[in-house]
């Protein structure tokens, strides 16, 4: 399982879940923060506008009531000065000259009558006149020489003169910027924390799923008695584990039942077969050769029947994934050589040439008896169906973690009518003399070893059967390291 643990986390489901969760969370909090920002900014604006409107009214009132004498400028100026001290959200570091507030009184002709503030007030007045202030609420005005606009409220008096009170938006902006900075830091840390929490919890949860997957993949390939891990928590994951385990219980029961049925069927048939065969054999010994013929053929029929019984039950069990395996390490190359050794004389007698193309030992972990019978079946199949003068080439290769055994002949190929169902039970060609279990048995054995088998007719004529079986684990590992080095 080294490949699984070595997988980068960015390809895990936990990572994907956390990314999407974080994206949704980020968007959600961003919308909330933008809304809050708008709300706070508007509120600050509204409050400062209310202050401006109130103050300009007071100042207008004062200016109207104060007699137009020598003291007028001083009285109104001081009132304006006082008002400027009450500016909302004023910055703490007060500059010596307060340039964030100004007061202007203009005469009826628009000339500057009274100026309270930093500088001479000419540029402020020009900007106000250029903006042509209406009598309604405060507006923003850009004054030359100032980066930040002023918020200006105005009031007109009975004598036709006007008073203007301006407040720089600088402090207001500073407050909002300050607020935004804090919002941003807070937002970033919430998002990162959220991502971390989601990532680690989902990874933890999904690791249970991975454990279940890993355990489940071992079940069946080795032993049906294994169960997936469960936890005491009654969450969805442990429910999944429990459900899988209950399913495995049922499967194990069915498989055991199948074993019981096939065993008792085999037992019930074999005991009489044994008795009959034994009696035939003992009576064979007491007969002379002339009378032995019927007994001999009866014995041969019995042996065929026994073989058929064994193969049928094997195929039935394999179809239900219930074949009992006793795996050991097998060298297919060696096995093929001794099988060819066994079959070559028979093949030669029938005028069939055998060729083996295999260079190195190929190790698989499999049930030796079953693999022997499977390979023998493949050879029997060729021997029975190939006409004289044909040749069979056998290739043994290892590629992509599999051992691949290919039997290729230049005979007539598979009958089109049986080709579709070659590996199903009891299918055979018209000329076939077997009971049609051969290739079904091959398929059953190969499947039970997590391999696959396919058959086709070559365009150049002849049939081809390809059997793929997983290589022994150490073989796969060795190849892997050889590639890496």
């Amino acid at each position: 399982m080294s490949s699984r643990t070595g997988r980068p986390p960015v390809r895990s489901a936990a990572w994907r879940i956390s990314m999407w969760a974080t994206l949704a969370f980020t968007c959600g909090t961003l919308v909330v923060f933008i809304f809050l920002d708008r709300f706070v900014a508007n509120d600050i604006q509204r409050r400062s506008d209310a202050w401006l409107s109130g103050e300009v009214e007071v100042l207008g009132d004062v200016a109207e009531r104060t007699p137009n004498d020598a003291l007028y400028n001083r009285v109104v100026g001081e009132v304006a000065e006082l008002a400027s001290r009450e500016v909302p959200e004023k910055s703490a570091s007060q500059q010596p000259e307060n340039d964030s507030v100004f007061f202007i009184q203009t005469a009826r002709d628009g000339a500057l009558k009274l100026w309270v503030g930093a500088g001479d007030g000419q540029s402020h007045l020009q900007a106000i006149q250029a903006a042509q202030l209406a009598a309604t609420g405060p507006v923003s005005i850009h004054v030359r020489g100032y980066a930040v606009p002023f918020r200006v409220a105005s009031d007109s008096m009975a004598d036709g003169s006007r008073v203007y009170l301006g407040l720089s938006e600088r402090d207001q902006r500073r407050v909002i910027l300050n607020l935004r900075m804090r919002f941003f830091v807070l937002w970033l840390s919430i998002v990162l924390l959220g991502f971390a929490i989601v990532f680690f919890t989902s990874r933890r949860t999904l690791s249970h799923v991975r454990n279940i997957t890993e355990a489940a993949s071992h079940i069946g390939e080795s032993d049906l008695k294994l169960r997936v891990p469960t936890s005491s928590r009654n969450d969805e994951i442990s429910q999944l584990g429990d459900t899988l385990n209950r399913m495995l219980d049922r499967i194990e029961n069915s498989v055991n039942q199948l074993h019981t049925i096939t065993d008792s069927l085999a037992h019930d048939l074999r005991s009489p077969l044994t008795a009959i065969r034994g009696k035939l054999e003992t009576s064979l010994a007491s007969h002379d050769a002339d009378h032995a013929e019927p007994i001999v053929s009866a014995i041969e029929e019995l042996d065929r029947l026994t073989d058929f019984l064994n193969k049928s039950l094997d195929v039935a069990e394999a179809k239900a994934d219930a074949l009992r395996l006793h795996p050991t390490n097998i060298d297919l190359d060696e096995l093929l050589r001794s099988t060819i050794d066994l079959y070559e004389p028979s093949m030669n007698d029938r005028g069939i040439r055998l060729g083996l193309h295999s260079a190195t030992p190929v190790h698989i972990v499999a049930d030796e008896g079953l693999i022997h019978r499977m390979v023998a079946n493949l050879f029997d199949n060729e021997l029975k169906h190939l006409p004289s003068g044909c040749s069979v080439d056998i290739f043994l290769q290892q590629q992509e973690g599999e051992a691949r055994l290919i039997l290729r002949d230049n005979g007539p190929g598979f009958d089109p009518e049986v080709r579709e169902h070659l590996f199903t039970k009891a299918v055979k060609g018209k000329r076939s003399s077997g009971h049609g279990l051969g290739l079904a048995f091959v398929d059953a054995v190969v499947r039970a070893h997590a391999g696959k088998v396919s058959a086709d007719n070559l365009s150049s004529g002849g049939a081809r059967i390809i059997v793929s079986l997983p290589l022994a684990a150490q073989e796969a590992d060795r190849l892997h390291t050889a590639h890496a080095g």
């Binding site: 085999a266 005991s271 077969l273 014995i299 042996d303 006793h326 001794s338 007698d349 023998a376 051969g438």
Partner: protein
């Protein structure tokens, strides 16, 4: 012999007596245990499916009461039980039903031989005028060298070691090719036919005989 099926009991008893063994038959585990206490047997044949208990349980109990004789297990079950495999490694053997008598007798002989003191390993085999040199892997008949392939030599050696006794096709496949298979073609017959062509040529008395339905025998007289 512990076997509950009457028919199997009958023919086995007859065949074993004919082969020169004296046989006591027990139909169930209890009788077998009682017999084992009062007699000392050289070998036990135990059927796995007994009416009163499991064959394996019986063997374990017999071992507990001090029976050391080797056991040949007869099984009608399809696949060989893991527990039987365990016993097999412990020096016992098994045979699945139905079986050829020749195979049963061969396995009995093997088990008895395993228990008997081992003689020095033979380097030459001699059956009538057939002679095998096991070291140089050469065979000759009446002094005439036979041109055998290595596989044919192994086959002939196996037949010689069992001279006078019947060997079945599946015994040959198992011992010579190391395969427990039942080919539905005549592959073994072709090998025997070729070997016979080399051994029994020139009008000499044929040594390798085919017993149809049973197997082959290399005649030793």
């Amino acid at each position: 012999m512990v076997e509950d099926e009457h028919d199997i009991q009958a023919f086995l008893q007859q065949a074993l007596s004919e082969a020169g063994y004296s046989v006591d038959v027990a139909p169930d585990g209890r009788t077998a245990e009682a017999l084992s206490k009062s007699n000392k047997y050289d070998i036990l044949i135990v059927d796995l499916g007994l009416p009163d208990q499991d064959g394996i349980t019986l063997i374990t109990r017999l071992r507990q009461i001090g029976v050391i004789a080797p056991v040949l297990i007869l099984s009608a079950r399809r696949s060989v039980d893991d527990r039987v495999r365990g016993l097999e490694q412990g020096g016992d053997d098994y045979l699945t039903k139905p079986f050829a008598l020749a195979e049963l007798l061969a396995r009995l002989r093997n088990l008895l031989k395993r228990n008997a003191p081992q003689g020095s390993e033979l380097t030459r085999l001699r059956v009538q005028d057939l002679e095998l040199d096991l070291l140089r892997r050469e065979a000759s008949r009446s002094g005439q060298q036979l041109q055998l392939t290595p596989q044919e030599f192994v086959l002939l050696e196996y037949l010689c070691r069992n001279a006078g006794r019947v060997v079945t096709r599946s015994m040959i496949l198992d011992k010579v090719w190391g395969m427990r298979i039942q080919p539905d073609t005549n592959v073994v017959d072709v090998h025997i036919y070729r070997l016979r062509g080399k051994v029994d040529s020139n009008g000499q008395m044929p040594l390798i005989r085919t017993l149809r339905g049973v197997g082959y025998v290399l005649q030793d007289r």
